[in-house]
Symmetry: C2
Subunit: 353 residues, 2 copies
């Protein structure tokens, strides 16, 4: 399809055939933009990111001839040498204008079920992840974790949400989703019931709309709480607990006006590490820079993570790209850019490559 | 891990943690070779090919400095600009020597079940594929189709195999596999029982080892039947029936000594289109060239397919690469090769890029 088509329009066109494009985002970008930033979304642990679902594309590059690279296959299995399609995934618009894309769709889910789980603590959350993952196998379609601060902000400020558990909100709330054939909900119920007592303080099955309404209200809830400075980072799953504790400590010490309200895709190691400042005492430029320094440093230097889990490179993290990317890689990437965009007319002017 | 590690050694090392690398091939290549050819294997429709499972890699290129490109992340979600890892996938060894790779593993299957199905004909086979795919959803892990000639060669010449059905062998035999949590076998049984009567002449559940023994004996069976000239092509799934009929007709007309014994991964559109010549009247060079011309032409020109589903580019299909790859793509690929291998010391000397 044309790269200007939005995700929602593709889903609408595919629905009569019982199909959808399962890179599921809260926003509704055009497919070309999704290629440029290699979006993943909330169901990436099951359905992959754009790199994993792209079959082929067509792009126009800014060389002397304005060459059109036509690599628009719709075959799932095609290995006819190194192809240009993959070069454009995550390229942040710097190598060419993606004009058409072919992506792999999925059958619409037949039966979808969700559980909301209160693990007994952060370390138990990782044990719950492993138990749910091995218990559900390929049926697991999302594993989201929401901090107390994030959940509370949504529940307190957004109408129509249900409190997940009768008692006080736990430190972390897990949203685990399964979808698959008829029988999926029964399997999820069995897997949740089999979780170790010591790891779980509370667990309920919840209608998917209700569970996701809570998850998707966090951004709005935090915005109503104050001024949000957001970071989308990732770390190896085994580092999630340590990253979270360290980031909170660093922010509490250096930016005591800020609250860390994190949430994210623990199944992939992705964390939205958002800092909320009081609306009447918003952060200035140097505090924003310090926040970035603390969170990125904690993810990259202390926990083997990435300063950009999903948003590519732009002016706000260009300095981190220069610092983290090995010199040989930087030179190699510039070779491609010199070939496809010698006059640097493509992409954001602040791009570092 | 080191790119010299073989698939089987990785699986052995991962097994104590309940994990495996699910790109499942009949052969046992090193991981670096799997990157260079982007292997997919028999369970690709569920687990993807190397491109979809590669997290990062390290490669040495043949520029003046013998640069090491270190892009060896183990993060699942990491979008820090265009990275060199993807450039090497399917590069046929022409851009550098892959020295280390990081790949995404899977939990070992908890419950695996297989069905052998005799569809009422080729068109019904595609309807069975769609029904099994939507009925099993993410539990479907393989959908293999074996022609009468391929199945018969295996059953007649390889010891210890079970005939799938009591009566005569059908034109096509389907091996459908599901794996997932406890309960998977019941779901497969239900889905197979619900297949349309008109589409299915026979269907049985079979122990996975028994079903795969038949599938994996085809190559040996065909080799015992005569001299095999093999092609690994792919077409859109909707073209599988037409491709198959046309290829048989073309070969019968032009190479009447040959039998087409096809089998493959219909779930991905992949077809091993193998021609078997009598052992006492093997094909000469011009007959081999004609066979290639017929099969590749039928796949590419007549059915929008690929002349290389899984084996990359080598001296035997370099001419097809030159013919099919658009000029702008060829130039773009040579830009990369000029940068990384200016003296053309890497890869097979017959490579066309």
């Amino acid at each position: 399809v044309s790269a200007g088509v939005r995700r929602s329009a593709l889903d609408e066109a595919a629905a009569p055939d019982g199909l959808w494009f399962p890179i599921d985002l809260a926003s509704d970008p055009a497919l070309g933009g999704m290629v440029a930033t290699n979006t993943g979304g909330a169901r990436m642990l099951r359905h992959g990111d754009v790199r994993r679902r792209l079959l082929g594309l067509e792009a126009v590059v800014a060389d002397d001839e304005l060459s059109v690279l036509d690599d628009l296959t719709t075959l799932r299995k095609d290995n006819t040498g190194p192809g240009p399609s993959s070069w454009f995934v995550g390229s942040c618009g710097a190598l060419g204008v993606v004009t058409r894309v072919a992506v792999e769709l999925e059958h619409l889910p037949v039966e979808r079920a969700c559980a909301l789980i209160a693990p007994s603590g952060p370390a138990a959350t990782l044990r719950v992840l492993r138990a749910v993952e091995s218990g559900l196998g390929p049926l697991l379609s999302a594993f989201e974790v929401m901090s107390h601060a994030a959940t509370e902000a949504a529940l307190d400020t957004v109408d129509g949400l249900h409190r997940p558990f009768p008692g006080p909100l736990p430190e972390l709330v897990v949203l685990a989703e399964a979808d698959g054939p008829i029988g999926t909900a029964d399997i999820l119920e069995r897997v949740v019931a089999a979780l170790a007592d010591g790891d779980v303080a509370d667990a309920v099955l919840a209608p998917p709309e209700e569970a996701w309404a809570l998850r998707h209200s966090i951004t709005e809830g935090l915005a109503r709480r104050g001024v949000v400075v957001g970071f989308d980072v990732s770390v190896p799953r085994s580092e999630l607990v340590g990253f979270r504790a360290d980031a909170r400590r660093l922010v509490a010490d250096a930016l005591p006006r800020a609250t860390v309200a994190d949430f994210g895709h623990w199944g992939d190691g992705g964390v939205h590490c958002n800092l909320v400042f009081p609306a009447d005492a918003p952060p200035d430029g140097s505090e924003r820079a310090l926040a970035r320094q603390l969170v990125f440093g904690c993810a990259v230097d202390d926990h083997r993570g990435s300063y950009s889990a999903e948003h590519g490179i732009g002016p706000h993290n260009a300095d981190w790209w220069r610092r983290v990317t090995p010199a040989a890689n930087r030179r190699a990437i510039r070779t491609l850019r010199d070939r496809f965009d010698p006059d640097r007319v493509l992409g954001h002017p602040g791009l570092p490559f």
